[in-house]
Amino acid sequence: MPGVSPGSRVRVLLVDDHALLRAGVRAEIAGAVDVVGEAGTVAEAVALIAAERPEVVLLDVHMPDGGGLAVLRGVAAQEPPVRFLALSVSDAAEDVIALIRAGARGYVTKAISGPDLVAAIRRVADGDAVFSPRLAGFVLDAFKDGDDGPPPAPATAAPATDLDAGAVTDDQDIDRLTPREREVLRFIARGYMYKEVALRLGISAKTVETHVSAVLRKLQLSSRHELTRWANERQLLDE
């Protein structure tokens, strides 16, 4: 049952160890989404997710007992899927990347405005990825040294159409971004909204989302050493 029918309110669970922050976020988004619960610890979060079956979990990166990563690991795959949106004040790239690799569909900073947060929640509920400028920067950094060589380009030399956002199938392609994906990420890092990126590149907003989702998938599947290193460091520290 993918997607959320327009008009229905997204069911959201807040996970953050600071009650004050939960209250603040709740006040900001309660008018537009359905906040079904709040959890302050990893155990509480895992239990509540199982009980409430929210569509989107707003997940704090840093919490005692392992943080958002522990919640992601604690929740077994469910149907319909629970989607996670990481929300953090953390600037540490490795923390954020680790969470994305563990399955979160996006990352926004806690400084995000209420309406933007609601938009991000809806997008995640629809199965899309949410890249803040900062996350785009992290990803560009992480995939950096792959692109100094000759661009593996012929596919994107053609005029941009909605077709050029093909699914990631090839194993080698997982470790590098296509020029188009890089372009999209650079626009996001520059502070462009998806529809603004679409306007600039002359493609549809849906295509932008497809590109971003492809990047997210690469991020989760790639075995590039930077990513692996980050993930391993986190795991070692968490065990």
């Binding site: 600037d91 400084a111 400028p133 900062r134 785009a136 920067g137 560009l140 950094d141 950096k144 100094d148 650079r186 890092a189 520059r190 502070g191 462009y192 603004e196 306007l199 600039r200 520290l237």
Partner: protein, 418 residues
């Protein structure tokens, strides 16, 4: 050795040069005084010492009576093995001398004394574990462990400081064995080895039993001591953190409460505090001068945030050290951010820095009402001169264009020759 200057200056007075000398700087000093290569003098001394003992006597007297040259360290800087060799030679010489003088207790003693001397020198010589080297290294290890960020430390990430420097242990072992050998040699020489052996056997058994009984307890005690020290270091960290929170954060909170009716001031204060706290927690950017592009841009963005009560969303990819051209890029970016801050209103300003091996790009985007470069009066220098002109002068380029829909985006690009 350096040749003396041709216009023979008055010969320097005889002084010991411990810094350049091998043992106590006597030969080095003599070399300077006489204008001879000290190596020759050293050989002469060694020969004199080993043949008649005279060299030893003279050297000892020189060490005692010849003052150190000014600015020379009291003890020669670490030259462990050479100094050791010197000491061994001196010991040999001394023994030979004593033998010549008739104050002698028999050839049998030479080896034990030599061995013991060498062993003790290894054990207590400069840089050895017992002379503080181990302590220094341990302290170094702790300091190393403390080097992570404060957050790491508080989370206890650096618990595995290695505290068993192998070199120190090796030295102790060698020294100990030498001294032991000396003891055995002495016993053998005096013909009491067998008897002592039996007695020692008894003692050894007792010692082994004691070690078995007390060993675990001692090990546990040592572990506890280490743990306690770590805990002490961590609690010091906590105290420091508490002090910091008190000094800066609580005061800022007080200020914020007092100025609650002035949103601009409140957000400026909060932002400033957040930045400071963040920098402090991660242990980065503690008032270090910005010497890379990313750091310099961050500093510039922060000062504009404070000045204009705006939010600047800075994203950086890559980094490189500043040079003249990049300083110009930062200056232009600063102007661009200033410009954006004037027009941005409440919306955050997005700044993106992309550093690749080929070039450096900065994008400054605001979501304000936007402005048209052509309608800006010619006497306003901000954009035209400080941004576009500056970039052009340094071989880069700048473009100003309306953002998609709203706002303005200023793009700066500077090529970087490899």
């Amino acid at each position: 050795m350096s040749t003396p200057p041709p216009t023979a200056p008055p010969r320097p007075r005889l002084r010991r040069y411990t810094a350049t000398g091998e043992v106590y700087g006597v030969c080095a000093g003599l070399g300077v005084r006489l204008g001879i290569d000290p190596a020759l003098l050293r050989i002469a001394f060694v020969v004199a010492a080993t043949t008649g003992g005279l060299g030893f006597l003279l050297y000892g007297l020189a060490v005692i009576f010849v003052p150190r040259a000014p600015g020379q360290p009291e003890v020669p800087p670490d030259r462990d093995w050479r100094k050791l060799l010197g000491l061994v030679l001196l010991a040999t010489a001394g023994l030979t001398l004593l033998g010549r003088l008739g104050v002698w207790w028999g050839e049998a003693m030479t080896w034990p004394v030599l061995l013991a001397g060498t062993g003790l020198a290894v054990l207590y010589g400069p840089g050895s574990p017992a002379s503080g080297g181990l302590r220094d290294r341990l302290r170094g290890g702790v300091r190393e462990g403390l080097r992570g960020s404060r957050l790491d430390r508080l989370r206890g990430r650096r618990d595995d400081e290695d505290e068993v420097p192998g070199e120190g242990t090796g030295r102790a072992l060698i020294g100990g064995l030498l001294v032991l050998a000396a003891g055995l040699a002495f016993l053998q020489a005096t013909g009491r080895l067998a008897a002592t052996g039996r007695a020692l056997g008894g003692i050894l058994v007792v010692l082994v039993v004691l070690a078995l009984v007390l060993g675990p307890w001692v090990v546990r005690l040592l572990r506890t001591l280490t743990a306690e020290r770590r805990e002490r270091i961590r609690s010091q960290e906590r105290a420091e953190m508490a002090a910091h929170l008190h000094d800066s954060v609580l005061q800022t909170l007080t200020l914020i409460q007092r100025r609650a009716d002035d949103p601009a001031t409140v957000s400026t204060l909060a932002r400033k505090q957040e930045r400071e706290l963040r920098g402090w927690l991660t242990g980065e950017r503690q008032d270090a001068p910005a010497d890379t592009v990313a750091a310099a841009l961050r500093t510039a963005a922060e000062s504009i945030e404070d000045q204009f009560a705006v939010t600047i969303d800075l994203v950086t990819v890559g980094d490189r050290p500043l040079d003249d051209r990049l300083v110009a890029v930062i200056a232009a970016a600063r102007e661009a951010m200033l410009n954006a801050a004037r027009f941005a209103g409440d919306e955050p300003i997005s700044v993106f820095l992309d550093v690749t091996p080929k070039d450096v790009e900065v994008f400054v985007r605001d979501r304000g009402p936007g402005f048209d470069l052509d309608t800006v009066p010619a006497d306003r220098h901000g954009v035209r001169e400080s941004i576009i002109g500056r970039m052009a002068r340094h071989g880069g380029e700048a473009t100003v264009q309306p953002g998609p829909g709203v706002g303005t985006e200023i793009a700066l690009r500077m090529g970087c020759p490899a």
